[in-house]
């Protein structure tokens, strides 16, 4: 049975409200943390090896230790609840069902970072969740966990919920900060980094919802104990939001020692692929990460089993690997068309580009148009090379990683499924009738048996 640190009590009745949450041991970490020094908390988080759950996987303790501490300047903690990456819906689950867990993590983290005003920036489309969070904040305040002089320690903290207006780019931390300040959500040019100049030019830490929630078990059990769960530099547990062609889509908490194959086929998790179909491909970490064909998903290029953790998923680099990303696990069965899938993603990135830098603004639109031609039977062979060239000229040349996020899915689709693109070009009529091209799949169990 897998370890559960975040979702352990998710099914306790009334856990959304204070009374049940407290009864099951909630807010213990605040009692413990406020007796520690902020430095000691940062130290525990460092020891835990917790990596950012927002996508980049940057060690959280290290990020916290970078925050500048100029005399007399307030500092801020900002919780990134913008969760707009297609395929990712784990933060939503946490906030909707366990709002107090996030609030608890925020109080401890605010204390560690010296933030007296902490913000939750939540995507506008999660229209009903701010009410849940605000209710939890009110309850926490009424019970003395928030507000002035918390637990008599002299530490003041307020948490504010700010709604976004519906833009993926506002999940990028500096765009989020701009938007929080009431401006257009354009990413800032770095440096300076938020740790030095963030919200209103004050030192700021931006962390993902899940990262901040994970601080609670870390303080409760100690950083060293937390680090024992998982493997290598993938410590603790990770929430995975699984979707696509699987029997049991949903949010799963995994410790990062299970294999991808187990995750897809075991009844404890995704429960296999419906209708007896075969696995074709998977985007394992949210729409931005490279898509992998089944054979490279279940085994690395070296023939080793691939596991659901940071190192193993990125084994082989972009040539034969992918990324853990934000944990949005999208499964494609043999009936799915990679060209169509890539077009859908390209359309998303074109729509969400902020338009500041020319490669991303112009390149994303161009890629979408070419992909549309290929998908609808008007493509040319040379279009495939052109797509490759465009993504190559976007990647790495933009202000923020959205440019890369738009380039990678296209690159990976061409890298692994080039014959499917060619099939679309060569069989324009058939590719219109059938919704898929070459079925470039391999059934997992066949591979395992071989």
């Amino acid at each position: 049975m897998a370890v559960k640190l975040l979702l352990e009590n998710a099914h306790v009745e009334g856990i959304r409200y204070y009374e049940a949450y407290r009864r099951t041991g909630g807010y213990r970490s605040v009692e413990k943390a406020l007796k520690m020094t902020p430095e000691a908390i940062v130290e525990e988080v460092k020891k835990s090896g917790l990596r950012g759950r927002g996508g980049a996987g940057f060690p959280a303790g290290m990020k916290w230790s970078f925050i500048a501490k100029p005399e007399g300047v307030p500092r801020h903690l900002v919780c990134n609840a913008d969760e707009s990456e297609p395929g990712t819906f784990k933060d939503r689950y946490l906030m909707e069902f366990l709002p107090h867990l996030l609030i608890e993590g925020l109080i401890v983290s605010s204390f560690a970072l010296g933030s007296n005003a902490t913000y939750i920036y939540i995507r506008g489309e999660y229209a009903w969740i701010p009410d849940i969070l605000e209710h939890a904040i009110d309850e926490a305040k009424a019970n003395g966990w928030l507000g002035k002089n918390i637990l008599g320690t002299g530490f003041d903290c307020e948490i504010y919920v700010q709604r976004g207006a519906g833009a993926y780019i506002c999940g990028e931390e500096t765009a989020l900060i701009e938007s929080l300040e009431g401006k257009r959500g354009n990413p800032r040019i770095k440096p300076p980094f938020p740790a030095v100049k963030g919200v209103w030019d004050r030192p700021t830490v931006v962390n993902n919802v899940e990262t901040l929630a994970a601080v609670v078990p870390i303080i409760n059990m100690g950083g060293d104990e937390y680090a024992k769960i998982g493997v290598g530099r993938s410590t603790g547990t990770k929430l995975i939001s699984a979707c696509g062609n699987i029997n049991k889509p949903g949010v799963y908490e995994i410790d990062m020692t299970i294999s991808v194959e187990e995750f897809i086929y075991s009844d404890e998790y995704c429960g296999g692929i419906p209708n007896g179909k075969k696995l074709k491909a998977c985007i394992p970490g949210g729409s931005s990460v490279p898509i992998l064909p089944a054979n490279l998903l279940l085994k690395t290029a070296k023939g080793e089993t691939r596991y659901m953790n940071y190192e193993s998923l990125s084994d082989g680099g972009f040539a034969t690997g992918s990324m853990m990303g934000s944990g949005g696990f999208i499964v494609l069965d043999e009936d799915q068309c990679v060209v169509r899938n890539t077009l859908t993603l390209a359309r998303f990135y074109r729509h969400e580009s902020c338009g500041q830098c020319s490669p991303c603004r112009e390149g994303t639109g161009w890629m979408e148009k070419i992909l549309k031609n290929i998908e609808y039977g008007k493509g040319k062979m040379s279009d495939i090379d052109l797509l490759w060239d465009i993504q190559r000229k976007i990647e790495g040349n933009t202000i923020c990683p959205l440019g890369d996020a738009a380039a990678w899915p296209v690159a990976a689709a061409i890298r692994h499924f080039r014959d499917e693109f060619e099939w679309h070009v060569l069989n324009p009529e058939e590719s219109q009738r059938r919704n898929y091209g070459l079925a470039h799949y391999a059934d997992a169990r066949e591979i395992v048996a071989a």
Binding site: R184, E352, G355, S358, W366, K393, I399
Partner: protein, 371 residues
């Protein structure tokens, strides 16, 4: 660039300069000048926060600094990256940079209308210069280009969004030069546009400066639109006593007529400092309303960059080559250089022109003329 800041040595394309700490790579490269200075479409030294957007100024940092010699993993925007002591930078000596820049130029031109023949900016357009230098003759874009309606921004300024490259310079100018924020960017991605909210006139004394900062023909002077081509007009430095601004301007004249008035610009196309050492922004009155020579004290012709098309009509006394045509031909008869077959249908003779001795004569075409 504080006074007394320590001097840093930076090597760009194998040329070393010393600049004060805090200088950007772009400004260090401009100190060297020539081809070493990367093209900059969005950075504007007089505008705070500008730069970093167009990505034409990308360079490769092959050595971070003396202390930390590791190269930077990605190309960086030279306009927003400050130099470190001992830094080594590659601009035109890096194939990676040239490749990325060619990409950026292609992206910038992707949706650009290329209507230079009817655009007032032609001749002094930075995008035009950029594409001559780094662009390709053809395009790989096979789709309809993005277009917008033209907008009138009040009585003096015309906004032609279709040509805009979203450099944000005009937004910064309006923000930093004028009291009220009046225009900005609406929408996002490739449908983002410069706009006033909603369809408002831009009315304040300094808004005309957005025309000067615009690198392309997206913002143009309505008092000058379609009146002349910039290369037919002659820039003349002039000034007047103006209660609102320095009154130091450039008149663009043809004969005795003043066609256009702009701020004075330096070799990078940015407005110059005034004689008082302040940024030389000019007010709307000087720019739009003083179109008589008698309004101004003329100082003399402006110095113009020799490469500029604007100088085309102003350099007299063309140097002739030392040798004459006859020397070159060494006594042989000159022949037709151009095959007139390809020039006009009328002249399609059944004659091999190259076989005719000497220049072709109308008699040679009798065959054709007869029928």
């Amino acid at each position: 660039m504080a006074e007394g800041a320590p001097l840093f040595k930076v090597t760009i394309d194998n040329i070393t300069v010393e600049v004060p700490a805090g200088t950007t790579i772009l400004n260090a490269a401009r100190k060297i000048g020539g081809d070493v200075a990367p093209p900059a479409m969005c950075y504007y030294s007089k505008l705070q926060g500008s730069g970093g957007k167009c990505r034409t100024c990308l360079v490769e940092v092959s050595k971070g600094s003396e202390k930390d010699p590791r190269p930077m993993p990605k190309l960086v925007a030279s306009c927003r990256t400050t130099v470190m002591d001992g830094m080594e930078v590659k601009n035109i000596t890096s194939p990676k940079v040239l490749d990325a820049r060619a990409g950026v130029v292609e992206f910038l031109l992707l949706n650009h209308p290329l209507d230079c023949p009817i655009c007032d900016q032609a001749g002094e357009c930075h995008l035009q210069d950029l594409s001559y230098e780094h662009g390709k003759a053809g395009t790989r874009y096979e789709f309809q280009r993005r277009t917008f309606h033209k907008h009138d921004l009040g009585e003096y300024i015309q906004l032609h969004m279709t040509r805009c490259i979203l450099c944000y310079r005009c937004v910064f100018t309006a923000d930093q030069l004028t009291a009220k924020r009046e225009h900005g960017v609406l929408d996002r991605g490739d449908h983002a546009q410069i706009a006033t909210f909603i369809e408002k006139n831009l009315q304040n004394d300094f808004i005309g400066n957005v025309i000067d900062v615009c690198p392309v023909g997206a913002l143009t002077d309505k008092t000058f639109r379609f009146k002349n081509r910039v290369w037919f007009t002659k820039p003349v430095d002039a000034h007047r006593d103006c209660p609102k601004c320095s009154g130091e301007v450039q008149l663009w004249m043809r004969g005795d007529e003043v066609f256009r008035i702009t701020a004075r610009k330096d070799e990078w196309g940015e407005i110059k400092d005034t004689t008082q050492g302040k940024p030389g922004w000019i007010c709307n009155e000087c720019r739009f309303e003083k179109k008589q020579v008698s309004d101004w004290v003329i100082e003399g012709p402006s110095k113009v960059n020799r490469q500029s098309v604007i100088s085309a009509n102003h350099y007299v006394g063309v140097q002739k080559p030392g040798e004459t045509f006859e020397n070159v031909m060494d006594g042989r008869q000159p022949r037709l250089f151009m095959d007139i077959h390809s020039v006009s249908e009328v002249n399609k003779p059944e004659i091999q022109l190259s076989l005719i001795e000497g220049p072709a004569h109308s008699d040679d075409f009798e065959v054709n003329n007869k029928d």
